[in-house]
Point group: C2
DNA sequence: CATCAATAATTGACCCGTCAACTAATTTAG
DNA sequence: CTAAATTAGTTGACGGGTCAATTATTGATG
């Protein structure tokens, strides 16, 4: 009984991984941009100007990753950066005009994509899903890192 | 109305990504091995000997990734490989004795981990979750890759 | 005020995954 | 029987993420 239940839990974990792994590359092929990069840009859309630490906090990825994304986006002219004159450690980031219009097109594609992902799933079911995922997420957050084997 | 619903869908996608990103590194720190590598080993546990293509098919990751995992596992003495004498293109993989006993310890840690992930979630709720994820997964699979912007 | 601690951002090393190109072995067809 | 297609596995280039170490700047404290 417990064994049976455990195996179902194992399967759920695999499902979560599987969905992520299937979805990420497809998202990128469909929209032309990766999910996390678009998420970064989406945040920038909302705030006009923001420093990297705050951006990192909101998108919740490593600051190293943020730096590299922004560097490339800067080179492509999607984003511009300047130092905070009152504190030379922090750098402000904002979208360029070109970037802004590009993103709109990305978001259009994203909309199609997302619609397809949840095809046939009712509002109510999505609410249930969201609740369950939130609880899982919270459990994951609470897990203490332990000593690995060896 | 539709906008509201859409934003919830967006959030769900973010949640899925978030869980994956949070879980993967934690899993590895807790158990001492990565999820996909343990999944590979788990499969090997069940089948005694198997060729790489079949393994790739079952675990559903790129053959390049499989090759690299097995190469490292081979070097660590967890796994042994030999060519199929009847078809020199295929290579058979199997666990070594040392590997087999190591995996048992990993699985023990994994069990703790998974238990924590689903803490406070009932069997019935897990069943619902599994169903919803399956449907999402199936939708993702059906998405046709389209032309990206530009 | 001079030193030591904290903070923001960057960089390097590494893991994991994809795709595309390549090698080698085996089938298949002409 | 040989040439072309297929198949298994490997490798290289690349994108994305983490952690740990480093740099530069600012803040705090004796």
């Amino acid at each position: 009984m417990l064994t049976n239940s455990y195996q179902e839990q194992e399967k759920l974990i695999l499902q979560l991984n599987e969905i992520y792994r299937q979805m990420s590359p497809k998202f990128e092929r469909c929209t032309g941009i990766s999910q996390s990069r678009l998420e970064l840009l989406h945040k920038l859309m909302e705030v006009d100007e923001i420093n990297q630490t705050e951006l990192r906090r909101q998108v919740n990825i490593d600051s190293a990753a943020v730096t590299r994304h922004l560097k490339q986006l800067d080179e492509k002219g999607v984003v511009s950066r300047r130092k905070n004159p009152e504190d030379n450690r922090v750098t402000f980031v904002k979208l360029t005009e070109a970037g802004r219009s590009k993103i709109e097109r990305y978001c259009k594609e994203k909309e199609n994509f997302i619609t397809q992902v949840f095809k046939g799933i009712t509002d109510q079911e999505r609410a249930v899903l969201s609740d369950l995922l939130s609880r899982v997420e919270s459990n994951v957050k609470d897990i203490e890192d332990e000593q690995p084997i060896e």
